[in-house]
């Protein structure tokens, strides 16, 4: 009876989860969505605590574990800066996958050898996926945090080795299906899964990490659903399916925005260290001081600001907002152009600019803004590089060839703010910087932008008052 009430609560929680994601469809309803998710989660936990069979010590342990988890989770939630969000998300995939994998493993030891064939198959897949996502996500987080080399690491027979490991893991699962009692196979499976997770990520370049994270998210969802099958817990199945489709859709969107195929991301070793690209003639570079740049900005009728990863690194979003406001007071029409893969995470620039109180309806998507560039007086490229690289349009040899870009080179004048002539995440040269209509303004994005802001509004004050 009590079990049935618990399951009914799980049903309510599942509906809450669905509504939660549904309400993420627009900013005004998103907070309601968060609430629905929280309520669903809370109900599910409360119901679970009423499960028959939990002992007194059990409750003590649970309380301790919940406390420790919360003590780590709260600072992780509140203190992690927005720029580190991709690593943060990768890290939490690692935690989540580890938890699911451990539950699966424990479940195996508690119920073996009386495990049905199908259950054993699902359980094996769950353990494989769980531990794979665990190390894979750790690797991804390491690369993003630049603790590990971002460049893809390739070695001979890489694919062969990977396939061999994967094959061995599958063979173990098949063996377990027929002799579920061979408990000794489980540690082997776990080691193989851990190794596979590492090896899978090693040859993938940092630029593809966000896609990989979304894919790992999808796998984590699958493993959660598999756990639901094993524990006959429908809430886990629903949550896993939702999580899995979310990861899948996000990775598809990212691949599409970069014009790459899945296979490519997983096996292409995108961004391999390249010889300096011959396609770009290292012509003259025109650079400008912030004074000159500010003057140009003030004279423009309209300015489009293109933020990129550099803005995130420099934490320049607040200064950007101030500059935009100052320009608006000068009567300049200011817009923001957001490339779908600018930054390191889908929606990265949106979150940062939202943090700086830029209203979200002033941020324009690539498709909306591209037709406007020919009529734009000045484009201010702020720490963006790959997403404005014209090589994507015409240089068939470039690794980013075919990726849709922000066509800033069609504007009257382009100002690029970055610290050096170094390449962006894809590791390739950008001919835009050598274009005669491009002005480079070297320096840290935050410093440059705050100077620009001061100059624009300062000059105004001396005239206006």
């Amino acid at each position: 009876m009590r079990q049935h009430v618990i399951e009914l609560v799980y049903l309510v929680a599942a509906i809450g989860f669905v509504l939660s994601l549904k309400w993420m469809s627009s900013p005004p309803t998103a907070r309601r969505g968060l609430l629905a998710g929280e309520i669903g989660f809370g109900l599910a936990i409360a119901a679970t605590l009423a499960t028959p069979g939990i002992t007194g010590t059990g409750y003590a342990y649970i309380a301790a574990a919940l406390f420790i988890g919360a003590a780590i989770g709260v600072p992780l939630g509140l203190l992690v800066p927005m720029t580190a969000m991709p690593q943060r998300i990768a890290l939490s995939h690692a935690f989540g996958a580890l938890a699911a994998a451990l539950v699966g493993t424990t479940e195996y030891y508690l119920t073996q050898p009386a495990i049905g064939k199908f259950t054993m198959g699902v359980l094996g897949a769950e353990i494989l996926l769980g531990f794979l996502v665990f190390t894979g996500s750790l690797m991804a987080a390491g690369k993003l945090q630049e603790l590990l080399p971002q460049r893809p690491i390739t070695y001979p027979a890489q694919n062969a080795i990977n396939f061999a490991i994967f094959g061995a893991a599958c063979a173990i699962i098949i063996a377990l299906i027929f002799t579920p009692g061979s408990a000794a196979l489980i540690p082997v499976l776990i080691v193989l899964a851990l190794a596979f997770g590492v090896l899978l990520i090693v040859p993938i370049g940092g630029a593809d990490m966000p896609t990989v994270i979304a894919l790992l998210n999808s796998y984590a969802g699958l493993s959660g659903a598999a756990l639901g099958f094993v524990l006959d817990n429908k809430l886990l199945i629903v949550a896993g399916a939702l999580d899995g489709t979310s990861g899948l859709i996000l990775s598809i969107i990212m691949c599409r925005a970069m014009n790459r195929s899945f296979r490519n991301v997983l096996f292409g070793a995108f961004g391999q260290l390249q010889e300096p690209d011959e396609g770009v003639e290292a012509g003259n570079v025109r650079s400008a001081s912030t004074d000159e740049a500010a003057e140009l900005l003030k004279l423009a009728r309209n300015v489009v600001i293109v933020p990129g990863y550099g803005m995130a690194v420099a934490q320049a979003q607040h200064k950007v907002r101030e500059l935009a406001d100052a320009l608006a007071r000068e009567g300049v029409d200011v817009k923001f152009a957001i490339h779908p893969v600018a930054g390191r995470m889908p929606g990265h620039m949106n979150v940062l600019l939202a943090e700086a109180n830029v209203p979200y309806d002033q941020l324009l998507d690539m498709d909306e803004i591209n037709p406007d560039f020919p009529q734009t007086d000045v484009v201010l490229v702020l720490g963006a590089n790959d997403v404005v690289n014209p090589a994507a349009r015409h240089n068939r040899g470039s690794p980013i060839y075919g990726m849709p870009i922000l066509e800033v080179d069609k504007a009257q004048c382009v100002m690029v703010v970055k610290r050096s002539m170094r390449a962006g995440f894809a590791g390739i040269e950008n001919e835009l910087f050598y274009d005669p209509k491009t002005l480079m303004v070297f320096g840290d994005a935050k410093a440059v932008v705050s100077e620009l802001g001061a100059e624009v509004s300062g000059v105004k004050d001396s005239i206006g008052i």
């Binding site: 709260v74 580890l98 451990l102 006959d232 886990l236 199945i237 489709t245 979310s246 995470m345």
Partner: protein, 108 residues
């Protein structure tokens, strides 16, 4: 797990998956980062499995693994919801009249 249960589970998985596709396709690019944080928190629901394992104390082994699992999941759920909340708070539609005139610098 009986064959009947498996089929039931497949039905639920298929329906939830289709529902996920429908619902998540409608999330605008703008909210993709909060979406990732939110699904992160929700997928920590594996917590319900680990709570039972930890609580039942069926073996030392189970207790240890269960403990780690509960801690890991709790980190995710707490962190995930907090981050989502933090991000969603930041989204504003229109500038408040004062902000345009630079009276507020938008810093948190």
């Amino acid at each position: 797990m009986s064959t009947e249960t498996i089929i039931t589970s497949l039905f639920i998985f298929a329906l939830a998956g289709l529902l996920g596709l429908e619902v998540i396709r409608r999330v605008p690019k703008l909210l993709h980062t909060p979406l990732m944080a939110l699904t992160n928190a929700l997928s920590a629901i594996a917590l319900v499995g680990s709570i039972v394992i930890l609580g039942r104390q069926e073996s030392t082994y189970a207790t240890i693994l269960g403990f780690i699992a509960v801690v890991c999941s709790t980190i995710n759920v707490v962190g995930g919801f907090l981050i989502t909340d933090k991000m969603l708070r930041m989204f504003r539609r229109r500038p408040d009249p004062g902000a345009v005139n630079g009276r507020r610098d938008g810093r948190p």
